[in-house]
């Protein structure tokens, strides 16, 4: 009796375990089962679509990163687009799946890509991510869709999302980098935005002598000071030099690149940055500027959203200006070139191509999201620069914010633009410069020359590995 009971119990345990293991193992079938189970309550919510639904219901998932209070405006744009697409495609339900940007980029999406089950539409970074995925055939080739919609030439740059001549993603917005400055202070001291590097040097010197911090600094994360260094070396050595590092056409040890590094170190030596910068977080960068402690802050245009009602820079509304890095004497190439990035946007799963109805939904999603209206909404509501070329008059008509007007003016006066280095060089080089070399330069543990040599060494290795 006891024995049989024991056997029975163990058998029960075993079978239940096996069953649960089976349930988890076959992801494809189980997920389609659960979606079928989930569909009824969702369709009852949308009673309007219920009657006209002749086609079989289907769903797609959009992985977005608009999570949290400061991304509500961006989320609103996305939900509007989703509603439009759902209305146009019979039987379609779109699931919105919000995940923190970094988690999505570095963990979730990568895991899904490796397992072969990414969502149909997902937030994607251009370089290097989209290239890695495109190489493995995980991304949908958008070239024919863009041709069909006729918007292929409307984007300012698709380079970060292009692999072997095909386009695999679309940037949602862009950003430019330059100096934010305290207008009130400038007026008090009779200073004007500089038109040459010498003038900028003078301004920094004047502010320093006045006992203020000329430049905000928070270099715990290497990319923050590197925005400035990147722009400096691109002024001295030309805006196109960074793109040539990966191909071997140019070297980090180029004397003009070294001049850029040297300029940054010179400013450190002269005490133009807030002291102890290597220990400060990026969040403190803005605080140094908004508190009036630092007069200038080199940052991306995304920072303009801080100077809006209800945000941390509220007290400085109307007192903040923006100017481009001034030209340097003897600098190579276009001296008005603006550092601009269009590295974040949406990508689409390669599996979409197998299902014509999903492909149709993706096409409509692109059509409704990537157009003038949405780009202007992004700019006006969210302070994100357009990733598409827009008519200047329409732009100006829509901007009411003074700071945004200045930013757009800088944008328009720049004759060319170039992407930040991390979109152009290999990840190993990015790691070396942002984790080691730039902090060594700031901490005076290296010289501009040694820094260039160290970078070139890593660059050579990365170039050799790519061949």
């Amino acid at each position: 009796m006891k024995k049989s009971l024991m056997l029975l119990v163990s058998l029960l345990v075993l079978t239940s375990l096996l069953l649960s293991a089976c349930g988890g193992g076959s992801k494809q079938t189980s997920s389609s089962q659960t979606t079928e189970e989930q569909t009824p309550p969702q369709t009852t919510e949308q009673t309007g679509t219920e009657e006209k639904k002749s086609a079989e219901p289907f769903e797609i998932t959009i992985r977005h990163t608009q999570v949290g209070a400061d991304k509500q405006k961006r989320l609103a744009i996305l939900t509007d687009v989703v509603k439009k697409v759902e209305a146009d495609v019979e039987g379609l339900t779109i699931n919105l799946d919000g995940v923190d940007s970094d988690v999505n980029r570095k963990e979730k999406l990568r895991g899904e890509m490796a397992a072969g089950n990414p969502p149909e539409i997902f937030d994607l970074f251009g370089s290097p991510d989209s290239k890695v995925y495109a190489k493995e055939g995980k991304l949908l080739d958008l070239t024919p869709i863009l041709d069909e919609l006729g918007i292929k030439d409307k984007f300012t740059s698709l380079a970060p999302f292009t692999y072997e001549g095909k386009i695999y993603g679309l940037p949602i917005g862009g950003s430019g980098e330059g100096f934010f400055y305290n207008k009130e202070y400038f007026q008090q001291k009779g200073l004007k935005p500089p038109t040459t590097m010498a003038e900028l040097d003078n301004i920094l010197d004047t502010i320093k002598k006045d006992g203020k911090v000329p430049l905000a600094a928070a270099s715990k994360a290497g990319w923050v000071p590197l925005m400035l260094t990147n722009h400096l070396w691109s002024r001295y050595a030309g805006p196109d030099i960074t793109a040539k590092f990966a191909t071997g056409e140019a070297k980090w040890t180029d004397p003009n690149v070294i001049k850029g590094f040297a300029k940054h170190q010179e400013w450190v030596d002269k005490g133009y940055f807030k002291k102890g910068e290597l220990g400060f977080e990026y969040g403190e960068y803005t605080t140094q500027f908004t508190s009036g402690e630092a007069i200038l802050m080199y940052d991306g245009t995304w920072k303009s959203s801080v100077f809006k009602p209800g945000q941390s820079g509220e007290g400085m509304i109307g007192k903040v200006g923006f100017f481009n890095m001034p030209p340097v004497e003897g600098g190579i190439g276009d001296q008005t070139a603006l550092m601009r990035d269009v590295n974040n946007g949406y990508g689409f799963s390669a599996a979409v191509a197998d299902d014509p109805r999903k492909l149709e939904a993706v096409k409509l999603f692109i059509k409704y999201l990537y157009n003038e209206d949405m780009q202007i909404r992004g700019l006006v509501e969210d302070g994100v620069l357009p990733s598409m070329k827009l008519d200047e008059a329409t732009l100006n008509a829509n901007i009411t914010d003074d700071l945004m007007k200045e930013i757009v003016a800088v944008l328009n006066s720049a004759q060319s633009s170039f992407p930040a280095f991390d979109a152009l060089v290999q990840a190993d080089v990015t790691t070396e410069i942002s984790n080691i070399q730039i902090q060594k330069l700031i901490g005076k543990q290296t010289t501009p020359e040694k820094m260039a040599e160290a970078l070139q060494k890593v660059q050579d290795e990365a170039n050799a590995a790519a061949e």
Partner: protein, 294 residues
Amino acid sequence: MNKALRNPVTFFLFILPGFILMTMFFIYPIISAVYYSFTSWNGVSDHVKFIGLNNYTKALGDERFWISVTNNGLFIAFSIIIQVPMIVFFSLLIANVRSLKGLYKTAVFLPSIMSTAVIGILWGFIYEPNIGLLNSILKLFGVDTIYWLADEKYAMLSILITNAWQWTGFYIVMVLAAIISIPRELEEAAAIDGASGIQRAMRITLPLIRPIISVVIMLSIAGAMKAADIVIVMTKGGPAGSTDVMATYMIKYAITNFKYGYGNTVAVLIFVFTLVLTALYQWLIARRSERIKY
């Protein structure tokens, strides 16, 4: 014991669930990590290319990897040389305090229930160069501003202190439990014989809590080898990579750069180093002080 358990089939069925879980969450991940450590897998590709020992020679020949290993070593050294004596000292104090013992126990235990992110921010304020607590105190003694987290000379020390602060309380509670479980008569007898407080602590209590101290040391070693979060929140491995540990090295140089093969290599190395260290410790030192009989 009944007959059922003597039946090999039943016996096997009973260990099966545990075995499956162990395989799924422990054995399989280790085997797959070892497997991928010999490849140049990018974390996404369906094609996995074997590159033999290349990843291992690369890691072992990388100066930055050894800086990270050294920093892990500093974690261990700091906990054994400074943290453990302090743990024992404070445990003895708290065990012998007459009133408010509960308050002291709670107070020392508090840091270990806080999340590392919170601790990072908290200590970030303490180390803040201009208005931070530490520099404000030092200023009273005429010490110049010290950039704790920004200066390579102090950054690692700052992390070690914070890490010690976070975990000391946890270990104190462990040691306290051991002290309290020592039969009262032993101390009383020693007291009657005329032993002073210090003599009793050194001759009676300490030898009796040796096994637990040994466990504390082993846990510290294991904890030090896998440390990562505290470094990430305090310095991100900076300035200029001077506070990187093996785990942050792995994240920076492998995972972020789509080098999962290399990342697995570093993970395997961390595993092997930790295994060897704890095994050595267990073998050479801990084994001798395992059993205490009253």
